[in-house]
Structures are given as C-alpha cells and as structure tokens.
C-alpha cells in the first residue's frame, strides 16, 4: 500500500463520512461519490486511488452504517491510519476488508500530502516524505483469520463449507 495522505481531526463521525441523505442506496459507486462530504465537500475531487486517510481519535464514531467504510473503500482509498477507531467502524472495516491501522504516533506525525507506504509483513508505516518509520501492533490472531479469509463472509463460508 502506497499513497498520498489526507488528514482529518478527532471524532470524524459517520454523518461526515457518508451523510444519511445518501443511505437510500447500497450502490458502492454512488456511496463513493459522496465520501467524506460533510467533512470536506471537495474530497472526492482531490483523492486518487491508493491514497490514505490519516485521522485522530475515535474515527468513524456514530452510526453503525457499513456504508461508511464501503464509501471509503470504493472511493479508492487504500487504508486509514488513526489514533483510535470507534468500535463499530473498526469491526465493519475488518469485516469488509478495508485495511485500518491504529498508530497514534504515525497519526500525529504524518502530514497532509505526505506519501506513505504500509507493509503488513513488517508491521510498519513508512512516511516516505518525512523518512520516518512507525510500528503498529498486529491484530489479534482471530481478527487476522477474518482478514486473511478476505472478510467475514468468506470466513463464514469457509467455516460452513459453502462452495
């Protein structure tokens, strides 16, 4: 994962990520078109495939709407690095296979516009602009199983042995 960073503050909530006025659809392209609209109306015009969101504490707080991580993923963002995530957003991201990393140090120091590279194998976020490396804690084994299966439904299918 390699891309340019877009920085947001604390408590970015699901009404900012995808306002409820767009929840009358589950079309991922339509959701992507309004990604982060209440936080930055021009976001989708600026963002490119592979870019990353850097945020403060409690990213994704509020509603349980899975449309929020879906909109971010479908807008082409490769990952989110935050100081902390709200819990329903966290599990939704794991369940749909949107990479998220809890790393307060990186979230603090990475600047808007910096280029970062994330390596899952080494557990490192590298700020290529700042030339600085940040370690993140790997997920617990059980969550890694879900991630490795490619999301919760694939994991369930495997367990239930559905073809």
């Amino acid at each position: 994962m390699k891309g340019k960073c877009w920085k947001f503050g604390d408590n970015i909530n699901t009404d900012e990520i995808i306002p409820a006025r767009y929840l009358n659809t589950i079309d991922t392209k339509e959701l992507a078109a309004h990604c982060m609209e209440n936080a930055d109306p021009n976001f989708t015009k600026k963002v490119k495939a592979g870019d990353a969101i850097i945020a403060g504490d409690n990213f994704g707080c509020g509603s349980s709407r899975e449309h929020a991580p879906i909109a971010i993923k479908a807008a082409g963002l490769s990952c989110i690095v935050a100081k902390s995530f709200a819990r329903i957003f966290f599990r939704n991201a794991i369940n749909i296979g949107l990479p998220i990393f809890e790393c307060p140090e990186a979230a603090e120091q990475i600047r808007e516009g910096d280029e970062i590279e994330v390596s899952l194998s080494t557990g490192e976020i590298v700020d290529l602009t700042l030339k600085r490396r940040f370690k993140f804690e790997p997920f617990p084994r059980e969550m890694q199983e879900i991630i490795q299966a490619g999301g919760l439904m694939n994991f369930v299918k495997k367990k239930m042995k559905v073809a």
Binding site: N11, N13, L23, N58, E66, I88, N95, V162
Partner: protein, 422 residues
C-alpha cells in the same frame, strides 16, 4: 475475582464458565436485528455467499423504520428487499408500517428482548436493550449477514466502567439528562470499547423509559454497550410481554471495573448538548435564550409514552411559539394509540404541533423535518453531528422532552422550571 453482569452474559452465550476482558469469543445470539438502511447490505451479503437458510427464523428481527413510510423510490426498493427476505425465510418478526415502531422502542414493547439475552443489531443504538439487563450491541451489516447464517457474532469481551448515581433524580431531570451529563463528563470516546454499567440509588428509582434513554446513548460515549441490572421495575415492565424463559444476571460484589465514576443525581439539572458533539453538554440554565427554528420530540431515545406525557403536561393549553415548527413522533403504534387515548395527541395538535406516524425520519436528516442552511433544531434525539438533520450548516441541540416542550412554547431554549412535575 467475580464477574460483571456483562461478562456473565457473554460467558453464558459462549459456552464458557467465565470470560475476562480482552478475550475473543464467538457468542451465540438470541436476537439479531436490521433496519431498512442496514439490512439491505446484510441481505445482499447473505445471498452473495450462497447460504440457503437462516439460522433461526424466530431470532431475526427486521424493522423498516428509518426512511419509512418510504420517502422515495430508492428507499422503497430497500424496504422491499426486507419484505422479500422476510417472506422467503418466513421470519417471525418482520414489522411492516402500521404494525411497527422505531426498532429500539418496539423490541422491548413486544417482549422480543428479555433480561440476560445477547442481542446484536445493525444499528448503533441497539445498546438500548441494556436497560432490560441484556447484553446488547450495535454491529454492521456484514456482522448481521454472518449472524443470519450462523447465529453467532465475534466479540472481544469488553472491560466495564461503573457509573454510580447516588441520591435521587430531582424535578424535571430525566434519564436523558443523566446520560447527557455523563457523556459531558467522559467525552464521546470516554467509554470506547467498554461496557457502561449504570447503578446506584438514583438508577433503582428510575422508570424504565428513562433507563432505555440512558442505555440508548451509551454509544455516544463510544461504548460497546450500556447495562442496568434487572430489578423490580424491569420485572414489572416485562410482565405480559416476555413469554420466553430468561435469566436475571447481576455483577458480583467483587469484580473488576476499568474505572468507577460516582455522581450525585441531586446535583444534576436538565442538560443540553450544544453542536456538534453530544459531549458539549451544559446545564440548560446556562444557555437559555438561544433562538431555535424547530423542535423534535421523538426517536429511539425519547419517543416513549412517558416522554409524550411530560411534553403534553407542559404544552397543555399552550401553543408552540409562532416561529417554531414542532414535530412530535410517538415511537411505536402502541405508544401512538396510548397517547391518543390519554388525550396527549389532542394537546399536541392544539399546541399546533405536527404529529407523525412512527419513524426515525428527522433524527438522521432522512425526512419529516430536514433542516435548511443556518437553521437550528432542539431535539430529543441522540446525535448532533455536523449535518445530521439536514444542511451541513444547520445546528442541533440535544435535550430531554421537558426542555424541548418548554422551549417550543417560548421559541428559544428554556429550562422547564416554574411548575412542579407531577
């Protein structure tokens, strides 16, 4: 060391004698829930996975309540997908409009959730049922799809935070004020990933409707769940509603809490949360006089019968201020009917309020009261995020039904003092 009520319920549903915070479990679910916004994704995921049957048609609840009665063609399509799924899998608990209510008011009312249950819902306010002594938490649509298939959910056992409310709740202060006060003290991530356990003499005396309002907003402090140990009030409420067997769990006298907060309920006056986070709370007295355009009384937080009674008590013989649009939404059909029989609806209409069929509608800026640019709402709902009720440059203040009704009359934020509450 003993276990908390939350740990006991999770252990019992995971086939374990005991669990401790941080432990990863696959828990058996008694009830799983979805609505017209979240269930369509769950249904699509379930069908895409090629799974034929749901785990138990009696344990899945679908309530189209957010954009219903369908506000546009797209919403109608979403509701339709719920109806088709419910018919196909012969779901026992599908609630069509006219028979429904806002999900978190409806499920307790219909006796679908019992003390000791483990409930998940693809709606963040699923934590409401903690008021019945159940472990209940919000999840996403894919979690719901997985639960349709397996009847299980993955969980990390949360640490618990204990909130002790000493003393007695005073005049005009409600469960809503206690929870707004709490969120103001600990912040919107003050209980992140934790279970909030509410206890103390003020909670023991608190009516069920107020307990639902408190547990409902646990999520606004980032919590996984909110819970109140079941007692006589709980038993009285579920009598005639819950027909299945249930277990009343209680925390052991000695168990681990990540933190304990002690508050004196006597010192908590009616609260208000200023834009644009529920943690921006202040006593109403300190912000009285702020002009408002719209007042909403309703939602899964405060659309219950006692909420409507308090509002009617204040509005009786009065009119909403000419500059105010007053919207009142009974949370379920039964509450609506009860309010009608008690003459509350007549009071509201005489006060020049709009009374609507049950819907989440305005709370999330869906329909039935969307705000224009620069408008300010005072609402008994649960979130005041930027753009939540409409235009990104509109504002929301959160409060109890008493504050909302008193303010609707004056056209500006007004404490409900003066008269004595019945």
């Amino acid at each position: 060391m003993g276990m908390t009520i939350t740990e006991k319920i999770i252990a019992a549903h995971s086939g374990l004698k005991e669990v401790s915070p941080g432990q990863f479990v696959y828990a058996n679910v008694d009830i799983c829930l979805g609505n017209d916004i979240t269930a369509p994704i769950a249904i699509e995921e379930f069908e895409k996975a090629g799974i034929k049957n749901v785990f138990d048609p009696e344990k899945i609840v679908l309530v189209p309540d957010h954009f219903t009665p369908n506000k546009d063609i797209k919403s109608a399509q979403q509701s339709k997908s719920l109806r088709i799924f419910a018919e196909k899998h012969r779901l026992k608990h599908y609630f069509e409009i006219g028979r429904m209510g806002i999900e978190h008011a409806l499920l307790p009312e219909k006796g679908i959730v019992a003390p000791g249950d483990l409930v998940i819902g693809a709606d963040s306010h699923t934590c409401t049922y903690g008021a019945l002594g159940a472990f209940s938490t919000g999840v996403g649509s894919t979690d719901l799809a997985a639960c349709f298939a397996t009847g299980k959910v993955w969980l990390k056992v949360p640490e618990s935070i204990k909130f002790v409310f000493h003393g007695k709740v005073k005049n005009w202060t409600s469960g809503k004020d206690l929870i707004l006060y709490t969120i103001g003290k600990i912040g919107v991530d003050g209980a992140l990933y934790k279970a909030m356990e509410f206890t103390g003499s003020a909670i023991s005396q608190l009516p069920m409707d107020d307990r639902f309002a408190m547990c409902n907003m646990a999520i606004e402090a980032g919590a996984k769940s909110g819970i109140i140990a079941p007692d006589k009030n709980t038993e009285e409420y579920i009598k005639g509603r819950v027909t299945k067997k249930y277990v009343m769990y209680h925390s052991d006298p000695k168990c681990n809490y990540a933190k304990t907060y002690e508050f004196n309920a006597d010192e908590i006056s009616p609260q208000i949360a200023l834009p644009s986070l529920p943690e921006n709370t202040k006593p109403v007295d300190e912000v009285s006089g702020i002009k408002i355009d719209q007042v909403v009384i309703g939602s899964c937080t405060n659309g219950r019968i006692s909420d409507l009674r308090i509002a009617a008590q204040l509005l009786k013989g009065k009119k909403a201020h000419p500059s105010i649009r007053l919207i009142i939404i009974p949370a379920t059909q039964d509450i609506y009917k009860q309010a009608l029989q008690e003459g509350l609806i007549e009071t509201f209409i005489d006060a020049e309020a709009v009374v609507s069929t049950p819907t989440c509608g305005p709370c999330l800026g869906g329909h039935m009261g969307v705000l224009a640019e620069g408008e300010r709402a005072l609402s008994t709902t649960n979130r005041n995020f930027v753009g939540r009720m409409g235009h990104p440059r509109s504002e929301i203040y959160l409060c109890s039904p008493a504050v909302a009704a008193a303010s609707a009359i004056m056209g500006k934020i007004t404490p409900p003092g003066g008269t004595v509450k019945n």
